[in-house]
């Protein structure tokens, strides 16, 4: 067990673990809705859409989180306007804003004369540099997400599985949708300094998607997703320690590999089950015709 204990004997690794797990919890709760409702592209776009706000805040010396939130709001509003005012679909709107926001972010950073280093820091975060202040922010965000998920559970559920019914039941679909986007933003904005926007996005998608391969009911999805994500964090931290790889990227990679692993297993089991059934039927048929 030495291989497991040694890495976590260091404070900074334990802090990275804490930040990672908190992010997993938040992202699993929100990510389940994202995956179920097909908001993945929007999630990715928001992850990149936060960039110009962060860059501008950095340039102006103001709070980065405000910048990220403002930027995400612009993104959401922009998508809404484009899809409402044109005949183009939602995905086109998202794509346009994604490209535009990412480009603006890069331009803003380039105004300062630097570029690659800053961008890397925002996209990949700095898991080794997690401070107790970062953990407090993550904790606050996680609690917020838990509360909103609990309170908004039935509207979210209705919106996900039957938007029409949601309207009828008086759950105000548009507001619910905005609340969901708001939750995605909270997760992104509270985690980009620690795990980076790309890893947050990985957490929003991979563990819930993997969970969806083996479960149907939403509370079960939440639980399985959190377990899978946390496992990825622990494994990722340990592997990146011993193999000296970049931490956030290793964790993200493991999450996605996990999905394919489970997919393969599920398919293999289904295949075997079918074969068994067919073989059984053939035997029965053979018997019957004896």
């Amino acid at each position: 067990m030495e291989w497991l204990i040694e890495p976590f004997s260091y404070g900074f690794m334990r802090q990275a673990l804490a930040a990672g797990i908190l992010t997993v919890v938040m992202a699993s709760l929100v990510g389940t809705w994202v995956v179920m409702r097909g908001l993945t592209f929007m999630g990715d776009a928001l992850a990149h859409g936060a960039l110009p706000g962060i860059a501008l805040a950095f340039l102006l010396g103001t709070n980065l989180i405000f910048g990220a939130v403002a930027s995400a709001l612009v993104m959401i509003a922009g998508v809404s306007v484009v899809s409402a005012r044109s005949r183009l679909g939602n995905d086109v709107a998202i794509g346009l804003l994604f490209a535009g926001m990412l480009a603006s972010g890069v331009v803003i950073i380039s105004l300062r004369g630097a570029y690659a280093g800053d961008l890397t820091a925002i996209l990949f975060g700095d898991l080794l540099g997690v401070t107790s202040a970062d953990i407090r922010i993550a904790l606050a965000a996680t609690l917020t997400v838990i509360v909103v998920t609990f309170v908004g559970y039935r509207p979210f559920l209705a919106l996900t599985f039957s938007p029409a019914k949601a309207q009828v039941l008086g759950f105000r679909p548009r507001l619910t949708h905005v609340a969901m986007l708001g939750l995605i933003t909270v997760v992104l904005v509270s985690s980009f300094r620690t795990v980076g926007t790309l890893l947050v996005f990985a957490f929003l998608v991979a563990p819930p998607a993997t969970a969806a391969l083996v479960a149907r009911r939403v509370p079960v999805l939440f639980f399985v997703s959190i377990v899978l994500g946390s496992t990825a964090v622990v494994l990722g931290l340990v592997i990146s320690y011993w193999a000296t790889t970049a931490t956030a990227a290793t964790i993200a990679g493991i999450s996605v590999l996990g999905f394919f692993g489970v997919l393969t297993t599920v398919e293999a089991r289904a295949h075997l089950a079918t074969r068994r059934r067919v073989t059984k039927e053939m035997r029965q048929h053979a018997h019957a015709t004896d």
């Binding site: 260091y10 404070g11 990275a16 570029y115 280093g117 990949f124 080794l128 540099g129 401070t131 320690y241």
Partner: protein
């Protein structure tokens, strides 16, 4: 209706013709009988710019591409940079390209500019450079300088006439050791020597002044740097050998260590550039090094993030080492106004003073 359409179209045509005429006109004018403009030298970094300014004084225009406080390792060129380089009489870069990991973002542009015949002076090649040790499987050996300076005595340095790529020489040595350490500006004796070569390069492109003028300027400036060199040796002499241990954010003090007798024990970011990603194990080992060897000062540069340096401090403190501090230095670029590091000479003095104060 016919009239209106014709009218509109002719306005457009006339406008385009006017623009073309104007463009042609200015192009012709600029190559015609205009008198020779002042000598224009483009320095890639703020540090190089300051050295060039020390040398040329008022006798040339010096333009700096990568300004104060900006990280040269992650700088990305803009179209304007391309134009500035091409309009220059001489470009002063760190270079030579492939083996010198400093201005990576400018590699392609500088190669192109060289091949177009623009004169480029490579400072590092003319400074008898040191090499980084190759980072093999030795995890403990981060960022130590390879002190047997094989150097690179270029025979044709100075008289730059554009495309002289000593890639074969450098490639050979680089394979033997690892990349060339580009942070030459921390060894004043090397800079003093290189300035003489720089003056020769400027003389080669200066059509107005005689070579003697630049030789004279070079000896004046070289003397200033040599005096500063002595000054540093003096101020550093108060430190004992045990005190001369340096831990920095990234590996920028190889030349300082070599010349003035310090040891760079380890760096937060492994490798030579600020782009490298730290890995947890290396970081953990660094914490242990600090605690075990009671190193209480972590030096941070002025062009990269201090987040990890701060984390190192927090972790070392948590493990029982008291009084650990992060000291901010000016390492890879000049500082802003009021920082005490606005020129090369000021930067060196301020940083050395801070180091001596922190380690003493």
């Amino acid at each position: 209706m016919l009239d209106r359409r014709l009218g509109f179209r002719s306005v457009i045509v006339a406008g385009v013709l006017a623009l073309v005429a104007a463009a042609c006109g200015t192009a012709e004018n600029s190559t015609a009988t205009e008198p020779e403009a002042r000598l224009s030298i483009v320095a890639v970094t703020s540090i190089l710019g300051s050295i060039v300014e020390d040398l040329v004084g008022d006798n040339a225009d010096v333009i700096v591409l990568i300004g104060p406080g900006v990280d040269p390792h992650s700088y990305q060129v803009s179209a304007r940079d391309g134009q500035l380089l091409r309009d220059a009489d001489l470009v002063v870069a760190n270079g030579p390209l492939d083996d010198v990991p400093l201005e990576e973002g400018l590699f392609d542009l500088l190669t192109t500019v060289r091949s177009e015949g623009i004169a480029v002076f490579d400072f590092v090649a003319n400074s008898n450079p040191l090499f980084f040790a190759t980072h093999g499987d030795d995890d403990d050996d981060h960022g130590h300088e390879d002190d047997d300076d094989h150097g690179l005595k270029d025979d044709d340095h100075g008289d730059d006439d554009g495309a002289h790529e000593d890639d074969d020489d450098h490639g050979h040595d680089a394979d033997a050791h690892g990349d060339i350490d580009p942070h030459f500006w921390w060894d004043l004796s090397r800079v003093a020597d290189a300035v003489v070569q720089l003056a020769a390069a400027i003389a080669a492109v200066d059509t107005e002044r005689a070579e003697e003028f630049w030789v004279e300027r070079a000896s004046v400036v070289a003397q200033i740097y040599r005096d500063l060199d002595d000054e540093i040796v003096q101020s550093v002499s108060v430190l004992t050998d045990e005190q001369r241990i340096i831990v920095t954010n990234h590996d920028s003090f190889g030349y300082l260590a070599d010349r003035y007798g310090f040891t760079v024990r380890d760096t937060v970011i492994p490798g030579y550039t600020t782009d490298a990603q730290t890995n947890p194990r290396a970081f953990a080992q660094l914490i242990d090094v600090l605690v075990d060897e009671e190193i209480r000062v972590i030096f941070a540069g002025n062009t990269d993030s201090t987040r990890l340096a701060e984390q190192l401090r927090t972790q070392a403190t948590a493990q029982g080492l008291d009084n650990v501090t992060v000291v901010q230095l000016y390492t890879d670029a000049l500082g802003p106004a009021g920082s005490g590091a606005e020129t090369y000479v000021a930067m060196v003095r301020t940083t050395v003073d801070l180091i001596v104060e922190a380690l003493g």
